[in-house]
Subunit: 125 residues, 2 copies
């Protein structure tokens, strides 16, 4: 007998979409590119903030900015199969990737990705 | 009747040295100058680290550096009378101020300050 907690930690969700090896490769490439672009933005903003530090409060503002960005990036870039459609949907919603970056995914995946992006658009409206 | 905890939080320690108004003014000036110099160092180091960021690990190294400096500065710069001799002693030990910055303190204070600086020198040896 499998306890609910063991199932949660060790087995995929029942309704989890199956990502083929080639789909995972496409997703990984888009995911890594978006992450790279987002990190590049944070690096540029950090350099700008640092160049404008005049007093101690500016130092701690920079520390807070970095902590928040690190937590946000850790939360957002989650490559587990069970999360991947939502993760790609969020990146689409945030214009961190385009549908062309996901070319090659099966239509069922694209539907999930678009649907989550639309859900976020509706929430932000 | 006063409970130990109330005594701890609301009354000075029995053996706490009394700092006169003029001594406090001297201590404050030395304390603020040392704090200003230390913050200036952190600002310079932050600008240097930021200018050398090339990859994400450099970002989180900077975040860690700032968090550690903030905690250390918060701990070190404590202006309560009960802590002041040790605080000034530590700043003396770290060469963040010199005895000349404390001119005007009564000899009993200077003894406490020097004694704590010596204690740290012995510990670091």
């Amino acid at each position: 007998m499998t306890s609910p907690s063991a199932a949660q930690h060790h087995y995929p969700y029942q309704n989890e979409p199956t990502w083929s090896r080639s789909e995972k490769a496409i997703a990984r490439k888009a995911f890594d590119a978006a992450l790279g672009r987002e990190l590049h933005e944070v690096i540029q903003e950090t350099k700008k903030m640092a160049s404008q530090i005049h007093q101690s409060s500016d130092l701690w503002d920079l520390e807070y900015y970095l902590t928040e960005r690190r937590k946000e990036i850790d939360r957002k870039y989650d490559f587990r199969s069970s999360r991947l459609s939502d993760v790609l949907g969020r990146l689409l919603y945030e214009n961190r990737l385009g549908e062309e970056d996901l070319r090659g995914l099966r239509e069922e995946k694209m539907k999930s990705v678009r649907s989550f992006a639309q859900f976020l658009r509706n929430g932000a409206a």
